[in-house]
């Protein structure tokens, strides 16, 4: 998979939030096999410097960094956060979130397109967290995005693929655009289902971080995503309403 000219090996992108401890986070990252970890920016105290320890730990993992604009509700906030992220992390990649609703954390797709346009013009390589809306997707591509990240369901909900039809339609409509399902994944089977639809990758965080054993769950997701991708490439059979025996009737003994 190629995103903004970078060859991506693992199709799992992992968030760094909500883990029980920094050690478990690093172990989960390793177990997942991911090459891309999302991070954020938050206020830093000059005396406590908690961000400095976190950054040293992340750098030690040797993974590519995808900074986010999580928690931003306006275009200005998101653009300024992206500028600060580029300054700190030294990457033009930005996972662009412009949130429109506090309860569902649904993207404000109007602000998203506006912010993506500004950032792409400023040289950013934007990973937009969006809905499965086809028209918004088109606008984001026109804005300069070369990858789309539709949600599966609300962030942190773990509900899985809330609109399979919409996700399938998006995939069919943009066969050449890298599509990453971002947010709402709760189980490895959800991730596998996304990959079976032909999605290029899955970005998740809470499902691993909040599992009873995050490290084991990271490994489970890695296997599921790999299996889902292999299944997609193997061209799954079409479902049908009526049964179709898999054992031939010809040659069946007459026993009546």
């Amino acid at each position: 998979m190629d995103i903004y000219g970078i060859e991506i090996v693992s199709r799992l992108l992992l968030g760094s939030g909500k883990y029980p401890s920094p050690t478990i986070m690093t172990e989960a990252v390793v177990a997942s096999g991911t090459g891309i970890v999302t991070v954020s920016l938050r206020r830093e105290s000059g005396t406590q410097r908690s961000g400095q320890d976190f950054w040293a730990m992340i750098r030690g993992l040797g993974v590519r960094i995808l900074p986010n604009t999580a928690g931003c509700y306006s275009v200005k906030e998101a653009v300024t956060t992206a500028q600060m992220a580029r300054d700190v992390f030294g990457t033009s990649w930005i996972k662009l979130e412009v949130i429109g609703d506090a309860d569902t954390l649904q993207p404000d797709v109007f602000g998203l397109v506006e912010a993506a346009t500004l950032l792409a013009e400023d040289g950013f390589e934007v990973f937009p967290y969006t809905t499965e809306d086809l028209v918004v997707a088109e606008r984001l591509l026109e804005a300069g995005c070369r990858v789309l990240m539709p949600w599966a369901s609300p962030i942190g909900s773990g509900k899985g693929l809330n609109n399979v039809f919409g996700l399938r339609t998006l995939r069919a409509h943009f066969p050449e655009v890298p599509l990453i399902v971002d947010a709402g994944i709760g189980l490895p089977s959800h991730a596998a289902a996304a990959m079976e639809l032909g999605y290029d990758a899955v970005l998740l965080n809470t499902a691993v971080a909040m599992a009873g054993d995050p490290v084991a769950m990271a490994g489970a997701f890695a296997k599921a995503i790999e299996a889902g991708r292999a299944a997609f490439l193997a061209a799954p059979m079409e479902p049908r309403d009526m049964a179709s025996p898999s054992t031939p009737l010809i040659g069946k003994a007459s026993l009546e």
Partner: protein, 65 residues
């Protein structure tokens, strides 16, 4: 001079952002800054002048999904 840093009132002697950040123990820290809501790049801090009542935001890498 009184300014606000991350929402907290602070007294600084320097009128330049880079020097004020050193006063506030941010020297050598990996941070990004904004002044009154506008991004200030690392390279621009030494030439950025502070004024009484300015709002400074200082952020650093943090966990996130």
């Amino acid at each position: 001079m009184k300014i606000t840093v991350n929402g907290v009132g602070r007294e600084v002697r320097s009128t330049m952002l880079a020097e004020a950040l050193e006063e506030l123990d941010y020297a050598t820290a990996v941070i990004a800054t904004a002044l009154n809501g506008h991004f200030v790049a690392t390279a621009a801090r030494s030439s950025t002048v502070l004024a009484e009542g300015d709002q400074v935001e200082v952020v650093a890498p943090m966990q996130g999904g």
